[in-house]
């Protein structure tokens, strides 16, 4: 008896979201790499994360890889675009954190605009994950970047009105973030919908757990959301995914601790890069559409893995 390939293609598809001239979503298969199940019109994208200030407490391996541009977000973004061949830039406005430098929304908006003007690939702008401040910041960023379409985020259940409002007012897209829960992800999309934000403008940030630090929760929640979207046709869950992978992966002790402190762990450079790349591969398998990474080497690895599916 010949083996019959059990291809699984669904009658529903992931909503296609256009961020400037780049599209994500649109597939009717479980993950962006299941090109053997059916067409993947928009293969998953790799965004590289750029901070708006010189990163504090980054492991040296990461600092070295980014090089001498890491105190200038514009140069940094350009390097990611030109040298590291990122598909998108994700500008993290960490300096706006009210518990940290507490930079104003206006200053942040200027940085965002400067980066947007410098690059020719699409831009994602993320806040400092302080709901209230992010709302304020995204309003200013949305206004400053009006005219081009960027992805603003994260909107959560506290600030979704403000971030959603900025998206509506200035025609941007929104990343809707909920804490690793199918129902909460759906609820937030409903709330954004009630506000008037169309599903074509939303990507889901399911909250990313790094390798060894809760990745299995993200992995399963993403798979459940995908099954609800594709198998059950739940419109509210058909959004593409964005995952803040670099940020979480590089938090891990295992990605940072030196070989001299933990001799059994082996070479730090190898370990750190793999920590990020393997976090990314798992989430790619779970359905990620936009993977936000930090290290150029892990970007290369993830790309080599992914490219095979689109040859």
């Amino acid at each position: 008896m010949a083996f019959k390939e059990p291809v699984e293609k669904y009658n529903n598809s992931i909503t296609e979201v256009s961020i400037s001239d780049l599209k994500v979503g649109g597939q009717s298969v479980l993950t962006g790499i299941y090109s053997f199940d059916g067409p993947v019109p928009n293969p998953p994208k790799i965004a590289m994360e750029v901070l708006d200030v010189k990163p504090e407490e980054w492991p040296q391996t990461l600092v070295d890889a980014v090089g001498d541009v890491y105190d200038d977000p514009v140069k940094w973004a350009l390097k990611c675009q030109n040298e590291f061949k990122a598909d998108m830039i994700c500008l993290s406005l960490v300096s706006t954190d009210p518990n940290g430098m507490n930079r104003s929304a206006e200053e942040a908006a200027k940085t965002a605009k400067a980066v947007l003007d410098a690059i020719n690939i699409p831009l994602i702008v993320y806040g400092s994950l302080n709901s209230e401040k992010d709302g304020e910041v995204m309003k200013a960023v949305g206004e400053a970047c009006h005219g081009k379409v960027i992805l603003l985020g994260p909107a959560d259940d506290e600030n979704y009105r403000t971030v959603g409002g900025a998206s509506l007012g200035y025609q941007h897209k929104v990343a809707a973030a909920s804490p690793i829960d199918v129902n909460l992800a759906k609820q937030l999309n409903i709330l954004l919908g009630n506000l008037g934000v169309p599903l074509e403008s939303i990507v889901i940030d399911p909250t990313t757990g790094g390798l060894g630090y809760g990745i299995e929760y993200t992995f399963s929640v993403m798979q459940r959301i995908r099954l609800a979207a594709l198998a059950q046709g739940d419109d509210k869950l058909k959004s593409p995914f964005i995952n803040m992978i670099g940020k979480e992966a590089w938090k891990a002790r295992e990605a940072k601790i030196s070989e001299s402190e933990e001799p059994s762990f082996g070479n730090l450079a190898t370990r750190g890069i793999l920590w990020e790349a393997i976090t990314a591969i798992n989430l790619l398998i779970a359905g990620s559409d936009i993977m936000v990474l930090r290290h150029p080497e892990s970007v290369k690895l993830v790309r080599s893995f992914m490219n095979e599916f689109f040859k």
């Binding site: 008896m1 083996f3 299995e216 920590w275 393997i278 690895l301 040859k311």
Partner: protein, 448 residues
């Protein structure tokens, strides 16, 4: 699959004889339903019922053991497509390949590392699980020498040779160690089946693609071989992922017996790039691979691969736990802050990572809350004032620090008063932040 506990109970003798080790037939039935017991434990069940039950409870992917003793690995036995449906059961063993063409020094160094690489995480050991030995030279003597050396480290072995005679001889020699034989192909399936049959050893069925693999497994099965792994000889990432996904779908959803076996992937035949090899291995483990073979026993690669595997194979309904105890972080002394939290592994990992990042020396007290997170443990009555006080008093924390201040998670601020009362005079309960991410700031401002 699919029989409920009650349906199984009805097939059992219903005598509560206790000979299976369970106090009642109902309890035994529930274990059978969950796939956590074997019907053969019941001495009185009728043959008819047994047949019905073993068909209903046998996993759609064959489960078997390779190796012996404490290092033996169990493979296969999976029942679901997605871990949230139940769980993935048998973590994919990672094998490292050694070729008999490699120099003695390389072999020695590889074996040493295969033996010694081992990380402990939440009470579980993450190691290189197997050693894959390849007769690259074609020379029998060389290969037998390699096997000899490899057998000394006592890891389950994969015997890889194209030469039937070599295969037969090594199988016979090492059959007590229960290696897996590699490989039966369309060309040699009958002969390999004989060797496997004679030695009782598991075998890998290899073919180009799942179609050919199916014909090989069919031959092996008809020769009475049950313990089989399948290698579809994928030469690129896409095919490897596809074959793993298709084999899992076909066996679980369509009950296609020919592919109802754990898969076997030689990752170093997919890529020569050692970094990419690690990424692919981890990816395939998450994508249903039964056994993966890589080339490089580098701890910096084995650690992320095996942590990734551990995460994916964690039972979603049974959280990972860490052992109760006092964990010193950043070399604390008698004036360092004391923090108490639950033993849910994720809580522990995140809290300890934040403390570590703060560089503030701390004593982290982990209390057994059966793996529940802070809020859940609190509402389930496991992380409440009297239990916490009882635990604190039981430990020797008062010998470790001079002060009597203890920090509780911000989410359980409401129990501070009662906790203080339970601890008694002299203690001061301090309320920490709600989120671990705010710990560094809190700790940096903390003063005795």
């Amino acid at each position: 699959m699919g029989l409920t506990g009650i349906q199984i109970y009805k097939l059992l003798p219903q005598t509560n004889c206790k000979e299976c080790g369970e106090p009642t037939c109902l309890a035994f039935a529930m274990k059978l339903a969950a796939g956590k017991a074997d019907i053969s434990l019941c001495p009185y069940v009728s043959e008819d019922a047994k047949a019905k039950l073993s068909e209903a409870t046998a996993p759609p992917i064959r489960e078997f053991t390779i190796g012996t003793g404490t290092n033996a690995v169990k493979v296969g036995g999976e029942t679901v497509m997605f871990r949230h449906e139940k769980t993935f059961f048998n973590p994919t063993p990672v094998a490292v390949m050694i070729k008999d063409t490699e120099s003695d020094d390389v072999v020695a160094s590889k074996l040493e590392r295969i033996k010694s690489i081992c990380f402990e995480r939440v009470g579980k050991k993450l190691c290189v699980d197997m050693v894959a030995l390849k007769n690259e030279s074609g020379d029998k003597a060389k290969f037998m020498t390699l096997l000899e050396k490899a057998s000394a480290i006592d890891k389950p072995m994969i015997i890889m040779t194209d030469n039937l005679e070599t295969l037969k001889e090594s199988a016979e020699k090492y059959k007590d160690k229960r290696p897996i034989l590699y490989a039966a192909t369309s060309a040699n399936a009958d002969e390999v089946a004989k060797i496997a049959s004679a030695t009782g050893l598991p075998v890998v069925a290899k073919g180009n693609g799942l179609d050919e693999v199916s014909s090989v497994t069919a031959k092996l099965a008809s020769a009475g071989i049950k313990d089989i792994a399948i290698d579809s000889s994928a030469k690129n990432i896409k095919d490897a992922v596809k074959d793993n996904v298709f084999a899992r779908r076909a066996s679980i959803k369509q009950k296609i017996k020919e592919v109802g076996y754990p898969t076997f992937v030689v990752v170093n035949e997919i890529t020569q790039d050692p970094m990419l090899e690690a990424v692919i291995a981890a990816g395939l483990i998450s994508q249903y691979a039964g056994i993966v073979v890589i080339s490089d026993p580098d701890p910096a690669k084995i650690l992320p691969i095996t942590v990734s595997r551990m995460n994916v194979f964690t039972d979603p309904q049974r959280p990972m736990v860490v052992e109760q105890g006092i964990y010193p972080i950043n070399n604390p002394d008698e004036n360092s802050p004391v923090i108490i939290t639950v033993n849910f592994a994720l809580t522990y990992f995140i809290v300890s990572a934040e403390i570590e990042a703060s560089r503030v020396p701390c004593w982290l007290m982990i209390m057994d809350t059966e793996g529940l997170s802070v809020l859940t443990a609190w509402s389930a009555g496991k992380f409440v004032a009297d239990a916490m006080a009882a635990y604190v008093k039981k430990t020797d924390i008062t010998q470790k620090v001079k002060h009597r201040k203890i920090i509780i998670p911000g989410y359980v601020a409401q129990l501070s008063g009662e906790f203080q009362e339970e601890l008694g005079e002299g203690w001061e309960v301090q309320i920490g932040p709600r989120e671990a991410a705010d710990l560094p700031k809190f700790l940096k401002m903390w003063k005795l």
